[in-house]
């Protein structure tokens, strides 16, 4: 039993469920929702790198999500680009803009930074809303194509699209894992814990915060581009600050600065809101207070609470073992 309940087996189990999902539930609606979960999760992992691990709150994240969505939408609909080329362009554009915005905004820190990014996010939203000739204004962009085929593989069916998104999500989690367990991730965490201390031990906080910001922007734009091609219609509301707040809620409830938190939070809340359809409009009446409770009582979110519990359990077990060992040694000596 003990050998079976390892972390690796748990991850494998979740992976198998995710892979078999189209066969377990032949319901298109469920699959559609799970595909959306994959997209939101990728974006939430982006927030997690910058907010969870580096400790700064950026409210421009949703703006970059919108930039990704609109870059892909405009390039595929108006310029007839290939999907993959447009996806790449969305990523590159988000990196360039991320560096530009980051260079300016990261000169400020703390609350100033958050308010600054809020303004940047709102400017992006307003520009999308008002620039009729390029973005279509409030009418939005219609008819964004599915991902184009790679050799024999097409992505026209929902199932294949779901697998594509799942692949990207797994890739995102893998990259996050690699970043967090590398020296770079430890640098980010050092900056989160204390910027002054990080500076004293010779970390260039400015460079690393910028890097973290750009990675986060890239994930946001990538998720936005995938969202555009999955939903096939986008309007200015993909850049609205309330959507950004929603993603923050996924992250905080799931667990800030944890590896599994973003996925846990997103799945939990998206499935909850989907199964309680009548709540759609008033969901914040419930999730607002839940967010408050989590922030006050479990600042590390669900994933953090689970980690704490398992650590406690492990500590208790090792303690019990030690007591047993001592008793046996006493017996042997006696």
């Amino acid at each position: 039993m003990k050998g079976f309940l390892t972390k690796r087996n748990g991850i494998l189990l979740v992976l198998i469920i995710a892979l078999l999902l189209p066969f377990i539930v032949p319901n298109e609606y469920v699959l559609h929702v799970m595909a959306l979960v994959c997209i939101w999760s990728i974006s939430v992992y982006g927030i997690n790198i910058f907010t969870g691990f580096t400790g700064n709150l950026s409210l421009a994240h949703i703006g970059f999500f919108a930039i990704g969505a609109y870059t892909l939408g405009i390039l595929t609909v108006k310029a007839d680009w290939n999907f993959w080329l447009a996806l790449l362009a969305a990523g590159v554009l988000s990196i360039v803009l991320g560096i530009l915005v980051g260079l300016i905004s990261l000169r400020t820190s703390g609350h100033f930074f958050t308010i600054f990014t809020m303004c940047v996010g709102y400017i992006i939203y307003l520009v999308i809303d008002k620039w009729d000739t390029l973005t279509g204004g409030v009418r939005g962009l219609i008819g964004i194509p599915n991902p184009s085929r790679i050799g024999p593989i097409t992505f026209d069916s929902l199932t294949s699209h779901y697998y594509l998104l799942l692949c990207f999500l797994i890739l995102t989690i893998f990259i996050t894992k690699r970043i967090v367990s590398s020296l770079l991730g430890r640098t980010f965490i050092a900056i989160r814990n204390s910027e002054e201390l990080a500076q004293t031990i010779g970390i260039s906080t400015k460079k690393n915060r910028l890097l973290s910001f750009v990675i986060s922007c890239f994930f946001a734009a990538f998720a936005g581009a995938l969202y555009a091609s999955f939903v096939r219609f986008i309007g200015p509301e993909v850049g609205a600050i309330f959507l950004g707040f929603e993603m923050l809620i996924y992250l905080v409830i799931g667990g800030l600065g944890t590896l599994t938190g973003p996925v846990i939070g997103t799945i939990l809340i998206v499935t909850l809101t989907q199964s309680l359809q009548f709540l759609q409009e008033y969901k914040m009446l419930i999730f607002g207070p839940i967010l408050l409770l989590i922030v006050i009582f479990y600042p590390q979110g669900i994933a953090g609470a689970i980690n704490k519990l398992t650590n406690k359990w492990k500590a208790k077990r090792t303690k019990d073992n030690k007591v047993k060992e001592q008793q046996t040694t006493i017996k042997e000596v006696g």
Binding site: T51, G55, L57, I104, S105, R107, T108, G110, H111, F112, T114, I115, F116, M118, C119, V120, Y122, I123, L126, V127, K130, I241, F242, F245, L248, I249, V252, L256, E281, Y282, K283, M284, L285, F287, G288, P289, L291, L292, V295, I296, P299
Partner: protein, 287 residues
């Protein structure tokens, strides 16, 4: 000339509303060092409370405003007790999340109770008057005068009373205030109450000009943040000056530059200012 005068008046009346909202925000920031994202929601609920008691019970405009001020003061104090007080030692990130949680809850609450529709608030000052041959809406003049009166009352409260001085003392130096025996809890609650009162007053004054809807606080609060950064976070005179400044710049920008991008002006202004001077335009002085 006609247009110029009218835009100046529009700018002054919008600026009055911005100043009142920014004043509450800056006072809370001065005491707690938390950007209170929920302040815009207080503003919105304040408008709805006034609207409801005016239309349900036929209570006159000014009395409705007083009741609304009291209600929002209570709401602000309750949210301080329930959310900000338990989070007072938490990281800045979690305090901001707490504020966002309150904001989301209140907006959803307004949607459930009052519906997502736009509503019109009537005021006894619907007419227009003409001065020097230019016509002005009465309500705009009322907004400007009422704002000046409220600011004067606040000024005398802060400088001439013991409790007011305690608030300023705590904003200037927290530890020093503790040392001379100021009751920190009381000061924090009082500051939240004042910020609620100012938000409700601003909302009730502005609603007959604009409309009442659940999202009415979003843009106002974002602009209020711009104002308190320009005016120096925590500075009361800074918030007033920057509020009027923004109102006037916006009003003229909308007329002479572009009506479509009128709302961008405030945010572009902030981006430019923070780019040049990352710590804000004025250094922080409490009062």
């Amino acid at each position: 000339m006609d247009l110029f005068l009218q835009q100046l008046l529009n700018g002054l009346s919008n600026g009055s509303v911005y100043s009142l909202v920014a004043l509450g925000l800056t006072m809370v920031f001065g005491i707690l060092h938390v950007p209170n994202f929920a302040h815009g929601a207080f503003y919105m609920i304040g408008a709805y409370v006034s609207l409801t008691i005016m239309s349900l019970f036929g209570i006159p405009y000014w009395i409705a405003m007083l009741i609304s001020m009291f209600a929002i003061a209570l709401l602000a104090v309750i949210s301080e007790r329930l959310i900000y007080h338990p989070l007072r030692n938490a990281a800045g990130l979690h305090q901001m999340m707490g504020a966002i949680g309150i904001l989301l809850f209140l907006v959803a609450f307004a949607q459930v109770v009052w519906g997502p529709n736009y509503q019109q608030m009537s005021s006894p000052y619907n007419g227009a008057i003409s001065i020097f041959g230019t016509t002005f809406t009465q309500q705009r003049i009322i907004v400007i005068i009422a704002t000046v009166i409220i600011m004067l009352i606040l000024h005398f409260f802060l400088t001439k009373t013991m409790i007011g001085s305690a608030i300023i003392a705590m904003a200037q130096n927290r530890e020093g205030a503790y040392l001379v025996g100021i009751n920190a809890n009381m000061v924090v609650m009082l500051t939240f109450a004042i910020s609620g009162i100012l938000a409700a007053a601003a909302a009730t004054l502005a609603s007959p000009i604009n409309l009442v809807f659940p999202g009415m606080g979003d843009l106002v609060i974002m602009k209020a943040f711009v104002i308190i950064i320009i005016g120096g976070m925590g500075s009361i005179p800074g918030a007033i000056i920057a509020g009027y400044l923004l109102g006037i710049v916006e009003s003229f920008g909308a007329t002479y530059i572009s009506g479509d991008y009128k709302d961008v002006i405030a945010f572009a202004l902030l981006v430019i200012i923070l780019t040049v001077k990352p710590t804000g335009l004025f250094t922080r002085r409490a009062y």
